[in-house]
Symmetry: C2
């Protein structure tokens, strides 16, 4: 099985590309190996690629004015990851995107994707539909978090993505959930005591 097949499977869930279209797409897809702790985006450098995670795990984060890290996204297999704002506007990034494990990604350049979307209607549709969905789900998640306590957010995470909770260091989970690592530690202690 070719590495790109996973990406094509994913696309096939939404649209059907012809053979020619598939060929054209594959010609702009580049497989890249990334070592743990390596950055694929970082502040100051424009994000050039849409990155599809074939194997491994990433997180995107930024460092605020007080020097505090905020984890924005945790991405495992079959997710796209990048500093999306930087990618879409083609302006310098403000986020780091860091490999949490040795990983393999498929990279597609902005400069290659944009003309291809203008050329291939189905590819445009693929990104239209998946971005609309990603946006809708992201909003949904943000909303459901508004009315949740720190403990509820943690419980929801380990229920929905148990593997993430296992693979990713606790302090990164805390930063992703918007709480201090100390407080997450307290929550976990309470949970094990009362159950």
């Amino acid at each position: 099985m070719n590495p790109s097949d996973k990406l094509l499977d994913n696309i096939g869930r939404y649209v059907n590309l012809s053979e020619v279209e598939t060929e054209k797409l594959l010609s702009i897809v580049q497989e890249t190996r990334v070592k743990r702790r390596q950055f694929i985006d970082q502040p100051g450098y424009t994000s050039l690629y849409r990155n599809y995670v074939l194997r491994g795990a990433f997180r995107s984060f930024f460092i605020d004015n007080n020097g505090k890290e905020h984890t924005v996204q945790i991405a495992v297999e079959d997710w796209f990851v990048s500093d999306f704002y930087s990618y879409i506007t083609q302006t310098p990034a403000t986020l780091y995107v860091e490999a949490l494990e040795d990983s393999i990604i498929l990279q597609m350049r902005y400069e290659d994707i944009e003309p291809l979307c203008r050329e291939i209607h189905n590819l445009s549709e693929y990104f239209r539909v998946t971005t609309e969905r990603a946006f809708a789900f992201s909003r949904k998640r943000a909303l459901s978090n508004l009315s949740k306590s720190a403990e509820e957010r943690y419980l929801e995470l380990i229920e929905r993505y148990p593997n993430i909770a296992l693979r990713v260091p606790q302090k990164i989970i805390a930063s992703y959930l918007g709480m201090s690592p100390e407080f997450l530690s307290k929550i976990r202690k309470n949970l094990t005591n009362n159950s």
Copy 2:
């Protein structure tokens, strides 16, 4: 000037529709007048339309388990507004979308838009590009809020959207900024005293 021209202008910033394509699009656009306090989406009912605000103002909000209102979006002229999750997934809404003023909107049915996007490449491109941008900007905003205090968030809002701050009741602004109305009142008092 036809009411739909504003929408076509907006589209024209991203793609060029042919005459025939424009005609097809206009044939699915419906102009609707909405009275102040009227809901165009509400929990339990699937969101059927993408709504483009021609004149007036809307907000979308939900009521959490503790009965507290959370304003999700404030939309004025040239914005799209709906329960986007409900619209995209075509499942019952969880949000209210309410007119804050007597308003005029352009409505396009999900059932009409989807086939038309599959038919008209440029329309697909319009929604792909604008949704990608909306998503990117929404993330950017969410991030910049993470490291901001309540006062900083308020200051940013009145700087970026001064007209919104004037047109929309303070308690809705507070709910949009994620703080209690009492606290916003306190912030405003401090600001006028110290300047």
